[in-house]
Amino acid sequence: MLTVGVDIGSLTTKAVVLEDSKVIAHELVLTGESSREAAARAVQGATSVAGVDIGDVARFVSTGAGKSETPYEGDQATEVLSAVRGALFYYPSARTVIDMGAESVRVARCGANGRVVDFGTNDKCASGTGTFLDTIAKALELTAEDIGPLSLQAKEDILITATCAVFAESEVVGLIAQGKDKASILNGITRSIASRVYGLANRVGINKDVIFIGGGAENIGLRKSLESLIKQELLVPPDPQLTGAVGAAVIAQEKSKAQ
């Protein structure tokens, strides 16, 4: 059975083609101004890579901030459920999922059957998200890929007091002017986000195994910082930015099988 999961996020749109129990293709595009168009492009790209026709797809399920704006017929699933299903797809032992996107961060606790037990979200605010990191990366003239490894080379502990990406950016500029090194600054920034995400996770409750997904999971510094706070290993699926879309595709399968 072929299903497609589409995660229409505020920054990027991801489409995943699932054939039975394998992810056979994916596509990631910038969402830009039109969620509808981005969804179309992502689906077009993924199905094309998979070598399948849109007509062959048994069901589409969309998730993400733009899930209601799709050019194809399908169902919608919440970001929380998609995150949980996606995490379980890769790790059947998953019981806590931390999902850090561009504009929102969420933590969900689930049972073995994928039922969501509790969750917490902070959205439409960059303070606990990948955008916070990207904003700082830009201010330091670094790429998103650089900042994780660099943050591990900190020379000193710097406390970042701002929890807003815009204010943190100014704080960072001020620290650079004081002669602080980028690695230490990045470490301070990373620990600051990690503490917020940990706070959210703590409220929801943390059960083994803990899975880290979303664009934020690609930052090694953030992973380590979070691990030291939750005192547990964080499992990260391959291409963590796609896990939500994978979860949506899994939900599509479940719905089709149920019929």
Partner: protein, 91 residues
């Protein structure tokens, strides 16, 4: 004085509200909070009253579980232990 501690941002409005005229500085709320959000200190008019710790205010939604969201259904919480009805939450 009614003191609102917290913020409103894209994600919502999160304020812990303390009526410092009613507060008697007993510290019961400080002790019961599972996240250690509160403390008692002298205000500008030299009265010892409860407040949200300065380094927590800007992360309040990430740290405080939220009275209505969670703590109202816990065995005990900051509202329940306050004999003066001095504390409330917007979430």
């Amino acid at each position: 004085m009614i003191a609102h501690y917290g913020y409103a941002d894209g994600s919502g409005e999160y304020y812990i509200i303390i009526d410092t005229d009613r507060c008697n500085g007993c510290e019961e709320c400080v002790k019961v909070c599972p996240q250690g959000v509160l403390e008692v200190a002298l205000d500008d008019y030299d009265k010892a009253v409860a407040r949200v710790k300065e380094d927590v205010v800007k992360s309040i939604h990430f740290v405080c579980w939220g009275y209505h969201r969670r703590c109202a259904s816990e065995e005990s919480n900051c509202h329940a232990v306050c004999s003066q009805d001095a504390i409330s939450h917007t979430w």
